[in-house]
Amino acid sequence: MGIPVTSQMINILASLMLLIAFAMLSQRRIISLINLFAWQGAVLVASTLIVAGTTGQEHLFYSALITLVLKVILLPWILHRLIRRLNVKWDVETLINIPTTMLAGLLLVIVAFNLALPISEMASTVTRSTLGIAMACVLLSFLMMITRSKAVPQVIGFLSMENGLFFAATSATYGMPMVVELGIALDVLVGTLIFAIFFFQIRQTFDSLDLKHMEKLKE
């Protein structure tokens, strides 16, 4: 048997991450988008737990816990509440149609794997093969931010980019130092709260959350 079971499981979870990233890229409904984001967090928790169990890195358990609380429970809950309070039921509007976005996403995945190749050859971790996927997740989330015209999906793109970064960190070096992780977790939480306040302000000013209204802010 070539590859140990844990590695295989991590690989499966990694491909799930990628799949969810693509699903988010193609998703038209905002509620589903938030749910997908929560699922992505759950996959992240599972993979972190497996890495932690395999390698005996104790602090990874804590970061898995933080991820669970923050990204699977708290942030989706805040976002759901936000959607209800803002009373936005519309579908996600994209600037570029979805098939084209998917094609661009495929290209990005190829680029990401290509970039990750030399790094994963050098790494000695059990998770090294997933680095390309983690990078692809980051780039796909970025692409989502670019192609969505409304503010809420952009924030979800931002948060899922953070998921990808976290995944990259666990796969490349068994996670970042605890202090850094705590700091990032807090940043994400505070960032979401600030974004929520901004949404209300933006809607109050422009009567809409469509970002094209903000074009007139330029000089």
Binding site: V111, L139, F142, I146, Q154, K212, E215, L217, K218, E219
Partner: protein, 670 residues
Amino acid sequence: MSQAGPLPIGIILGVIVFWLGIALVGLAAQRRFRLVSQVLFPLGGAGALVLAGAAFAALGQAPASLVLPLGLPDLPFHLRLDALSAFFLVLLGGTSFAISIFSAGYFRQAEGTPPGLLCLQYHMFLASMAGVLLADDAYLFMVAWETMALSSYFLVTTNHRIPEIRWAGFLYLLIAHVGAIAILLCFGAMQGFQGDYTFAAMRQAHLSGFWASVTFLLALFGFGAKAGLLPVHVWLPEAHPAAPSPVSAMMSGVMLKTAVYGLLRVTFDLLDTQLWWWGVLALGLGLITALYGVMFAAVQADMKRLLAYSSVENIGIIVAGVGLAIVFRAYGMNTLSALAMTAALYHCLNHAFFKSLLFLATGHVLHATGERNLGKLGGLIHRMPWVAIIALVGTLAIASLPPLNGFVSEWLLLQAFLFSPDLPNPYLHMLIPSAAGALVLAAALAGYVMVKFYGVIFLGRPREDKLAQAHDAGNWEKAGLLWLAAGCLLLGIFPVYVIAQLDFVTVDLIGRALGDTAGKTGWLFLTPVAPERASYSPLLFLVVIAVGVGFTYWMVRMFYHGRLRRGDPWDCGYPAQTPRMQDTAEGFGQPIRQIFEPFFVIERELPTPFDGAPRYRMTTRDRLWHWVYLPVARLAERMTSLVAVLQQGRIHVYLMYSFGTLLLLLLFAR
């Protein structure tokens, strides 16, 4: 030289901290007008006097250094008090004492910035200027320099509700920053790629001719922008009229001198060689600036603009003196170099005194009458005899009439010019005497300008009815003005003593002193080089003038006693004459405008003979504005419009920029 003592530098540092403390008290007590004006400003003035005293004591001592554990980690502030710093600190303290005292009676409530904030800005300005003079590393120098620019910017825009004043402030800030960039680059070139920005390291560094020249040119441009050399002088005539008068006095009298200080510090102290063409460049630029300034001063109708252009002229004369000192120094003629340098330093001191005096006097005229336009003043000598007589002292001094101080420095500078035939360069033989001619022309025109200034404001008959309500200066204002007038008189009468003090500076920078020759025949006669060549005794002048005037007065009283008759001034025997028929500022300046017409852009509105309500309007503007500034502004606008294409206003496009950058970096920089 006596032994180095840490005492003067400690006292000066204490005064700086004291000023900062006053600034904070002013900030805390923003609305308490009486406290700010009657207590804080005089206290600041007392601090200035202490500073001047300590610096004066330090003149003859060996340089003292101090390292303050402030600033960035591993980058402490270095301070050093040597003769050059001490001289300029004396100038700062001596002038700002009078200005602070005057300010105590000058600032009014409900005029623009609240008095407490004004107090904060004013004392920050003072402290930062002292910081510039004490700095011994490029870091502290730039910090103090920028603080000075910013605090003076806020002082200039005290009446920020007026759009012209905001515009003037912006122009000032812009040119100050362009100059600051040049100074920063100058320090960068001078540290000789060692990475050590202390002045001590710069003194040690040996630069190649190319880098030394780059350094000098950057310094000339950067400090010239602050001093008001052509072509970066345009901010002066805008900022000085915009600022409150004590601020104009401080900027013109002291701040411009910090720029001269910087130029001297870089050229004579930090650079170890001087090339002769630097001196020719500075000399030429200085003379052109002097002529240009005085020409524009002659055609101004606003009294503060007139004084601002006169500052341009005086800075030109000072820089010409510095240039001459560089030329002599480059050819190894150190005694003559010391002579030119002494003249330039002396003129700095003189200009600080008489220009502050005149700005303060115009400030009082402005407060008493509400008019800056010369065409609406006149006859004020009857309403404010105190101010008029003190302003007369300043006017005579700036017109360089003996026995006042302006004459001494210009005479010394001319003496230095007369030695140029000794130079071993045939071109300079021919050029420098004509430069001396230009200097004399500038000095003569300055006299003309000052006759116009004084005559139109104080003499003749009042041109407006409201001038009858004008009042004389209050006690604080009188005290400040008196101090400056006394300074003008004493600096003029005891030149031998002043030069003995200036010698400490020239010995430090050039290695020669004038003291041995200048006072050879005793304290009465000033003999800069040799008694048989030229000598000047201001006291004798004073005595002769006093005796002559007294005798004439006595004779007139003797023979015309009892037959005294008062008539309207400049009546000329016409029976029906109104005050509007007097000679005006425009009329007085008209010959100059005719002679030097190509230099001005003149716009005139002449009324037709059939006009019921005729109005005559004339504006003269600077040609350099069209030749230099507008092309630069257009170029900058065109280049920024290229960059502005990037600013789409769409968040998606901005995200694309980051995304593209990220991908590029990932692809190419791995």
